[in-house]
Symmetry: C2
């Protein structure tokens, strides 16, 4: 199993531990002392809060289950108004004095404030939408939020949104409920913005954040934080210092726009004398990536791609040194990384490489058996991940130019969402305070230079907000976007926090942020 590694990454003496998969050693004296010292600041004696969490546990679970039972899916325009209302209700019940629906050109967001009369104000980001799902693929109904035994994690809740993002968000709200029940005020004021279009790449979230009253409120904050259960199965808290940007597009090749082939689907025997929209799509798509499908080949795609810094590479090397690659591969259901790379090279790619992925594709007849038609249309759904200093606008323009240059200008490029990459300084108060909490909890912290996934942190780290932003926390869950998405409620691994411990950790987190 893995070893543990202690390092002193910066002159302020903050202790960070890289991922130590399965490590079971006690904290060394120096670390323990530092953590205990910090621990004393994180709310002092929290026994009454802990008792409140225990007492409120059934209602916290029920609250999450009720939330999961109402899936808001922007792509399907499903329960959006209802989900926005529930988001506001959840916030108000947790102690926010204001929670307003913020209309946009798409689905509404929420702007909420909790004024505790505190010295410091923390910005927060929530999402109330979830990814689509097909119940037939689930072992437990995705809206039932049943709690089942799942080795080796313990009791987990299975449901759409369990980890992404309702479980962690509900856990954070449980922390506010517990503080109140224990007769405590929140140690920080909170300015919270929420959206219902995260899963379609946040096309209108700027319209919420850039409203004058929201910008004014955020200007009092020093960071923007989103709750997440980011412990690995082995227990290290994964803190990503950034995230890739994303652009989602739908490409449509049609005989109608092309002006070739038959206007409608036609008997396939005509293929000999008529052009095919599907072959056109296949040929156009084929130009977008390298022969093995692994490198974007869109003209100029790498123009603004920054290589990893030495520090970023070091963080990755540290992670690799203390991670069991076989465990990760098993977790992901993977036998080989692309090009049979070493784990280190694979993780460097994961952090540093932009991607062009086909998330879905369809054309013609897709039912059982065959149907001899020459289809008049083909659709491909792409998602493209971007790294600094690529921008979403640049990616869209380059994709369109690439297609046009090759004579595919008639292929429609419908951008359905997108945003730029985000990056946060590891020396920011957010990262330092969070890390200190996790260490005090006796957990290991695993930094990564950048999440391969995306979240609209750029809306906060970019102009005009310009704040550090991150999403992490204790607890564990997985299978975001996939069937059987889960969130650990009661953990059978002492190194992985269940919902109640994670709730207490958020309490400490608020205290840690109140004193930085």
């Amino acid at each position: 199993m893995g070893e543990r590694k202690i390092e002193l990454p910066n002159r302020r003496g903050l202790l960070l531990m890289a991922a130590a998969a399965g490590a079971t050693l006690a904290l060394p004296r120096l670390t323990r002392a530092a953590a205990n010292k910090a621990g004393a600041q994180f709310g002092g004696d929290l026994s009454s809060v802990r008792a409140a969490i225990e007492k409120q546990r059934p209602e916290a679970i029920r609250r999450l289950q009720n939330w999961i039972a109402l899936p808001s899916i922007a792509a399907e325009n499903r329960n959006m108004k209802e989900g926005c209302q529930m988001m506001m209700d959840l916030l108000t019940e947790a102690g926010f004095q204001t929670a307003r629906m913020m209309p946009t050109d798409g689905q509404p967001g929420v702007f909420a404030t909790l004024d505790a009369g505190a010295r410091r104000t923390v910005g927060m980001y929530f999402m109330y939408d979830v990814k689509q799902f097909d119940p037939s693929e689930w072992s437990s109904p995705p809206l039932a939020a049943a709690i089942v035994d799942k080795a080796p994690f313990g009791k987990v809740m299975i449901g759409r949104g369990a980890i992404n993002q309702k479980g962690p968000e509900a856990t954070f709200l449980a922390a506010l409920h517990a503080l109140k029940a224990a007769g405590r005020k929140s140690p920080v004021n909170i300015v919270l913005v929420a959206e219902g279009e995260e899963e379609i790449a946040s096309p209108h979230f700027g319209q919420v954040v850039h409203r004058p009253e929201v910008l004014a409120a955020l200007s009092k904050c020093h960071e923007v934080f989103m709750p997440f259960a980011s412990q690995s199965p082995q227990g290290s808290v994964e803190i990503a210092l950034g995230a890739k940007g994303a652009v989602e597009v739908e490409l449509v090749a049609s005989t109608e726009k092309w002006g070739r082939g038959a206007k409608d689907d036609i008997h396939s025997s005509y293929k000999a004398e008529l052009d095919s929209a599907v072959w056109r799509m296949v040929k156009a798509l084929s130009t977008l990536v390298s022969e093995d499908g692994n490198d974007p080949a869109i003209d100029g795609w790498f123009e603004h791609v920054k290589p990893l810094t030495e520090r970023q590479k070091q963080i990755i090397a540290d992670k690799v040194a203390h991670t069991n690659e076989a465990d990760i591969k098993k977790l992901l259901g993977v036998q080989h990384w692309v090009r049979d790379l070493s784990y280190r090279d694979a993780l460097e790619r994961l952090a540093s490489q932009p991607t062009v992925n086909i998330e879905g594709m369809y054309a013609g007849y897709t039912g059982p058996g065959g149907k001899t038609i020459l289809p008049s249309k083909a659709t491909a759904k792409l998602d493209m991940r971007l790294v600094p200093d690529q921008t979403a606008a640049e990616a869209e323009a380059k994709l369109k130019a690439h297609l046009a240059k090759r004579g595919y200008g008639d292929i429609e490029v419908k951008v359905t969402g997108g945003y730029d990459p985000t990056q946060t300084d590891e020396h920011s108060a957010l990262i330092k305070a969070s890390t200190a909490v996790y260490l005090q909890e006796g957990l290991q912290v695993s930094l990564s230079p950048r999440l391969a996934g995306s979240w609209p942190g750029c809306i906060f780290t970019g102009a005009p907000v310009n704040l550090p932003a991150g999403h992490f926390g204790t607890g564990h869950g997985s299978r975001a976007h996939a069937p059987d998405e889960y969130y650990v409620i009661e953990s059978s691994n002492p190194k992985v926090q269940g919902m109640a411990d994670a709730t207490l950790a958020y309490v400490k987190h608020l205290y840690a942020l109140s004193v930085v």
Copy 2:
């Protein structure tokens, strides 16, 4: 509009006319005389039969409507037993003394005989299955078989199977009913084989035809004929002297078989370090055709492809000379043939070129909006049309070898059906007798060297049956496999036969075949 052309293609003096789109001239004397002479043989005075057809018209229409109301779709395993039973009932009611279900490894066929004590026995081929359909795409419900006005054709029946093939088959059965009602015996004995898997490329039809009792019955026949409403909108009866073969395959690229990428669908952010089954499919497909998607590029695909003969080219040139290309383009919803070919070149391609077509394709998420997954599987449905002397077995082997040679051996190639091309001599009794009937009806006959579509004629033209085979007839319909498939019931164009006239033409056709 087009001109008419008379030619004497063979030493036996049979008069053939090539397509004369919209031609309205009277038959020249020579042709008319020949037709009248022949006409005298085609059943003599048919007024009582004609009266019976008129009287039975409502029940003939109802019979067809009832048949359309029961769609048998092998791809969906829908109503197969019921459809087979209905086929047998329809045959028995029309006068067949025997009609037996013939089990196969797939869906059952039918073997039926009508012994009229006649001198000559005609082989016939029916199909009782139809293509799949999506009712939402139809202007009239596909199973309602409603009769509606459709300019410029007159009253047409709209329904799945209307033209392909229930309409023409029911019209032929109406001819047998009318003969009976007029107190006549069928002038020929009939040996009929039917199948329920024509639309999935007849994977098990050989198991019906090659049964000893069926082969024995067919050995008494001189040809195998299938009813079809093959008049063009302008009225010429299209007789195809052959048909392309077809192979339908489903290609499946999966991370599971490949052993690369993630076993299941996974969050798309992992694309940077994991291989994609969809890109693999796109790249593999891309190798199968030329850059413009119009020529098969499978290794060795053209090895056994025979060029058109001079006679075949002449038939096409004749057709072109008498067809209005603009009308055809309008009918098909087409602005350009591939590579902007002339109509003649396009028709030569249509007759002579094998095709590799993507009839359908799907991978990953295909619903509304996006879903950021890296799919573990991609499926493409291909149909490939073959020309002499390609064979279905050869095509399958070459496709597999082509993929394997390029490292795509893990992509599954599931052959769902297929058969060889078929070709029939234009000097055969079947073609001669049929042509004589149509000329006697005052119609024009348009030969084509080969249908671009496919039908399992090879089962009859190939060993061990080795008979001429063809499917044609009077009447008109179109949109086979497409929404709003139709069949003309009452024609508003005197040059295009409605159902009643077509019924009488089948009566004459039987008489014509009885005396060759």
